[in-house]
Symmetry: C2
Subunit: 101 residues, 2 copies
């Protein structure tokens, strides 16, 4: 089975029953999923993007976590922020401006 080199998780605040009603979702985190998918293709990244239920970092949302690096980012509120994070991923560095430390 093919596994991605980078796995990008975007909080969509899903509750167990599926309702998307938490703070990341209210801040429109799911609207960025198609943008991230396209950027992965454009950049030729070996990466997969997955939406998630609440990651319990609501104060910093919308939250994005990238494994296996284990970098937590927020607030991811625009395509520019996503670009900065993906630029860092390509450069094997970290987008310090949005890193949750």
């Amino acid at each position: 089975m093919d596994k991605p080199q980078h796995h990008i998780f975007v909080c969509a605040s899903f509750r167990a029953g599926g309702e998307a009603k938490g703070s990341c979702h209210k801040k429109n985190s799911t609207e960025f999923l198609p943008y991230i998918e396209n950027e992965i293709l454009d950049r030729g990244l070996d990466a997969q993007v997955t939406s998630t239920g609440c990651m319990k970092a609501c104060d910093y949302g919308p939250v994005m976590v990238i494994y296996p690096g284990g970098h937590w980012y927020g607030p991811v509120e625009s395509e520019d922020v996503i670009d900065e994070i993906l630029d860092a991923l390509e450069d094997r560095t970290v987008a310090e401006n949005y890193l949750l430390s």
Copy 2:
């Protein structure tokens, strides 16, 4: 911000709109979330469990992925399977019987 040593992702097949309707969800993956939460506490693991949208490994579901190790497991269909995977996590090994390779 506290970040978990182990981050356990359980596919719940959420669609972008929040409907949980894919194959992992049909196989009741979300019913295991409280069990995993309890096991984390019982075992004193520094771990967080997060449900996800479709992880595109539907043929092997219900799927569970643990980072930063990057181990993909399936089918995770019972509490016994979860125990075996968490035993391996505690032992810093891999639950070979369910590893998706």
